[in-house]
């Protein structure tokens, strides 16, 4: 691996950690080290300044009465509510319920959509036949179909996991199909000239070439899984972060509601970051 690809993630992880690297480097180090530290600190500032500003506005505006503190309590109060929810174990119970559903739907979608996509992509007549249908389903918002799922599968876990599974399937399926279909024809030609049969060709050329595209689909599905999850939990659930947010709003526990929202956005960020890192691991060769 080149030094270029190695340094990139390191820089990123530093800025992600959000550690204030403002402290000057020890006197022994040379000017370049100081400059590097300065650049890293600069990057950290650039990356966090907007979020910091938002937090500040959230804290100050309700206190100054610029917005109604009843509907938007200051950030510090929300954080206190979040902490209380955490200590009582309530937050974890809801998060666990949510993550279980999300992971189940997302995982099942990967297990179903990747093999199916490989199959469809490899046999181009099948792909041509099914593609219009796939486009229709993909462009039908999962949430529009949610009532259908509830109608057929009831209000239990099955319908929730099914709707997540449904929403996650399309991005993975479509990306897998296109990943298989857009493999460089020259690579296939060259592999054929080396005497590879169709099975070996698929295993050694088509599959590895499609992996980055498949992972893009998986990352999109990961984001979708969280989105759909919350909506599904707002319809007749007894646990989960979506339920927490909705329930808190009904009972006018506004701070709890915001605590739930913050948690879900943190989870979303975390999942996305995790998937980006995984995606990059599998497609380092694509950077050229």
């Amino acid at each position: 691996m080149s030094s270029i690809t190695e340094t990139r993630p390191t820089e990123r992880s530093v800025s992600l950690g959000g550690r204030p690297a403002v402290r000057p480097a020890p006197a022994v180090s040379v000017g370049s080290a100081v400059r590097t530290a300065g650049r890293v600190a600069g990057a950290v500032v650039t990356r966090t300044i907007a979020i910091g500003l938002l937090a500040l506005v959230w804290e100050i505006f309700p206190r100054l009465g610029l917005v109604d503190a009843t509907f938007l309590p200051p950030l510090s109060e929300v954080l206190v509510a979040w902490w209380d929810l955490l200590l009582s174990g309530e937050l974890w119970a809801h998060t666990e319920a949510s993550l279980t559903r999300s992971a189940a739907g997302f995982g099942l979608a990967i297990l179903i959509a990747v093999p199916l996509g490989l199959l469809i992509g490899w046999y181009s007549p099948v792909a041509n036949l099914l593609n219009p249908l796939l486009e229709v389903f993909r462009n039908t918002a999962a949430l529009a179909i949610l009532p259908v799922f509830v109608l057929i599968l009831g209000l239990g876990e099955t319908s929730k996991i099914s709707i997540i599974l449904y929403g996650c399937t399309w991005p993975i399926l479509l990306n897998t199909v296109s990943g298989v279909r857009t493999v460089d024809p020259l690579l296939i030609k060259s592999a054929r000239s080396l005497g590879l049969g169709p099975i070996r060709l698929f295993q050694k050329v088509v599959l590895p070439a499609a992996v980055p595209t498949i992972f893009t689909g998986i990352r999109l599905a990961g984001a979708a899984s969280i989105l759909i999850l919350i909506a599904a939990e707002m319809v007749g659930a007894k646990a989960g972060l979506g339920y927490l947010i909705n329930y808190a709003q009904y009972n006018f526990a506004v701070s709890d509601m915001y605590a739930g929202i913050i948690t879900i956005s943190a989870i979303g960020l975390l999942v996305n970051q995790l998937l980006i890192v995984t995606e990059r691991r599998f497609s380092t060769w694509r950077t050229n």
């Binding site: 691996m1 080396l194 005497g195 050694k204 590895p208 060769w285 950077t287 050229n288």
Partner: protein, 268 residues
Amino acid sequence: MTTEPKIRFESVGKTFNARGKTVTALQDINLDVRDGEFLVIVGPSGCGKSTLLDLLGGLSDISSGRILVDGKPVTGPGLDRGIVFQQYALLPWRTAQGNVEFGLEAKGVSRRERAAKAREYLDLVGLAGFHDRYPHELSGGMKQRVAIARSLAFDPDVLLMDEPFAALDAQTRDGLQDELLRIWEKTGKTIVFITHGIEEAVYLGQRVAVLTSRPGRIKQVVEVPIDARSATEDLRSDPQFAHYRHEIWSLLRDEVDRARNEELKINV
């Protein structure tokens, strides 16, 4: 000495169907290639040079006639023929070493032997120390060296090269031409090399087959009896070299003109 040629084209023709029209890409190609010979095929762009190589490589079907390798007709790809493509065709997710091993996997060579062979051939093409580099970390010339190593590693009798140096800059190209001659002399392979460069053709080929513009036919085969090319200090400024260069240039000029006129006619 046997008189049987290594490769024989017997009135080979190839037609395509393009938008309902039948296009003749190649017509009545008759050509023998001797064992261990370095033959260059040169022709104007679009004359079907690459098609000819695809047919020889078994990558597409012949419309008429047949191609014999060692007296046996070509019916599909085989490990007796290795192909080097202009765009390298390396697997971007594999290192140089992994790419060279790729050809050996199809042949069913054991893992240990694959690694040893790959190392040996990467060294042969001058890439010692670059084994664990990925294609995107290598220059164009280095990528083509990997591709050549890959084609040599599974030890085919015949090396087919489809404008392998066309995408490279002039200096890299000159260097690789010398390298290729050295490898050819060392390994004794039969090489069929396709190019549109006249200098390249004269520099490399023991014989140069000039193709006509579409439909591609053999216009003439020019013998280039320059011995010990790699030993000559500056072959390109040799008067002999200039003589053959001019001969092939004259043969090609008419074809290039004809191809251009036809192109204009189509576009009008």
